[in-house]
Assembly symmetry: C2
Homo-oligomer: 333 residues x 2
Amino acid sequence: MSLRRPYLMFLGTAPDQLAAKTAQGIVHWRPDWCLGQLRLPGCKADLGIKDMTIAEAEKAGVKTVIVGVANRGGLLDESWIPGLVEALERGMDLASGLHKRLSDVPALKAAADKLGRQLADVRHPTREFSVGNGKKRRGKRLLAVGTDCSIGKMYTTLALEAEMKRRGLKADFRATGQTGIFIAGDGVSIDAVVSDFVSGAVEWLSPENDADHWDLIEGQGSLFHASYAGVSLGLLHGAQPDALVMCHEPTRAHMRGLPHYKLPDLQACIDANIAAARLTNPNVKLVGFSINTSALDAAASERYLKETAVKFALPAVDPLRTGVGPIVDQLLL
Amino acid sequence: MSLRRPYLMFLGTAPDQLAAKTAQGIVHWRPDWCLGQLRLPGCKADLGIKDMTIAEAEKAGVKTVIVGVANRGGLLDESWIPGLVEALERGMDLASGLHKRLSDVPALKAAADKLGRQLADVRHPTREFSVGNGKKRRGKRLLAVGTDCSIGKMYTTLALEAEMKRRGLKADFRATGQTGIFIAGDGVSIDAVVSDFVSGAVEWLSPENDADHWDLIEGQGSLFHASYAGVSLGLLHGAQPDALVMCHEPTRAHMRGLPHYKLPDLQACIDANIAAARLTNPNVKLVGFSINTSALDAAASERYLKETAVKFALPAVDPLRTGVGPIVDQLLL
């Protein structure tokens, strides 16, 4: 699957900023590819880039419209369809990370077929996977885990990849979600894999490699998320991580999408992840914390990171504020 | 999906007796429906019922050939196809619990279409599910969990259903695997559900009910199985069990399909299941042990059950040898 660039980020009627996580991630890591955003009435998200109509996007040279909004369950809103059809009519392809396939929407399928445009559904695996075998593979693996969904696991692994490459180390980001796939150019959208094959898909995604090579595997969900914990556990077992980074957002009031569930205690979350990871890699270690402190001011952020680092005697960083250097240092100890 | 009866159990080239778990379960719980078995050269399984050719099955009045062999990963062997085509030609339908769809095998699809026969793939969900919401539902739920796959979870829940109905209690078996679906007539093959929706599918399978009604939910896999633990965890969270029954086979040398993995310690397995189950039901309790002691003689079986019951101060039964009465007693305390 290869997407034509540059992109227009289609935000539809995104109900809040977190719902535009996909689009925001792409803009952050590939700013040069993202010429503008399109927001429909009622949209509550903003990527901080130029607002464009479909007509303006055509004039600016956009080649692919990215449906960059992740609803719970991955549905496509009816109100988005006219704009997406117009994009096809004006010569652009569509790409989406939703569960619902663009090609399953009759109006989009008909227009794309008639006009010869590409409908790319990056969330849908295009190959079959084997059942996981749990056999040890050569090479090193790091997995980002977390207390909740949408808490910075992808940002963390991408930042680690950038920092490790800057230091001349062998490292590759391994994408397990739609945003990561848009950014990496390949990967497996692990929550769209049939449940029996989740561990096997991660084993495939992170194959045997040089002994000093690090795969930096994007985590998904949380062992403490009542909707998705099974995905997280299959991913954890398939990854066979040597190193875990714990991702957290200290001000979040409840689990994403579940107002009746509180976030787990950090120590309980570490213990559960280490205990589960030991099944396929008894040598797994926690190497640090990646904290999303965007809701804290600079002083409070610094205090929280310091307290966490002292409490657990491990590096605690905010990838956006401090970089991830201390975690790479820890990894190489 | 409704299957015409009676059945012929097609065992193909099953490499061992455990591979015929599906067929064996149907024969055990619905003996009157199963007129015979068909074994190809090399087949190492035996259901202890009459061997039949396809022609003999036709004469005996068989209406559906059940592909009752579960390979790892659910593949259909090429060598089975001629016999299955012959069955279609002789007027029988086919039903399968494999991942690989009968309707994806060109020779079977073509013959079934031409002859007007049914190809029933019970492993493939025929509806879409929502993401799990983790909300408490009225009614009581019991889930069978285990130290490994293929260890008696379905047998246990079916035996509990029979015993509870005998006592006039409100109870329903909820099938989560192909064998259970063949026996119950409906259910969801949970390991074929896209991973994001596993918990939601179990919430759908076991909806709100009378306060004194028990859903007896068939477990799958094990939290300690490197291939399938994610399936088990999603199922556990969606089930929101009030009661867990721990299933175990005391003589098994390694995890099913994974010679390099030993079975977990019973206490560790209990602790992990209780800790995980508390996320969606803080009041979850272990109510007993269901031990498959088929590899032990009567005296050794009795000794093992007694030791387990004393060690954990809970009932320990073998559903086939002792019945499950003591677990129902414990459930009603």
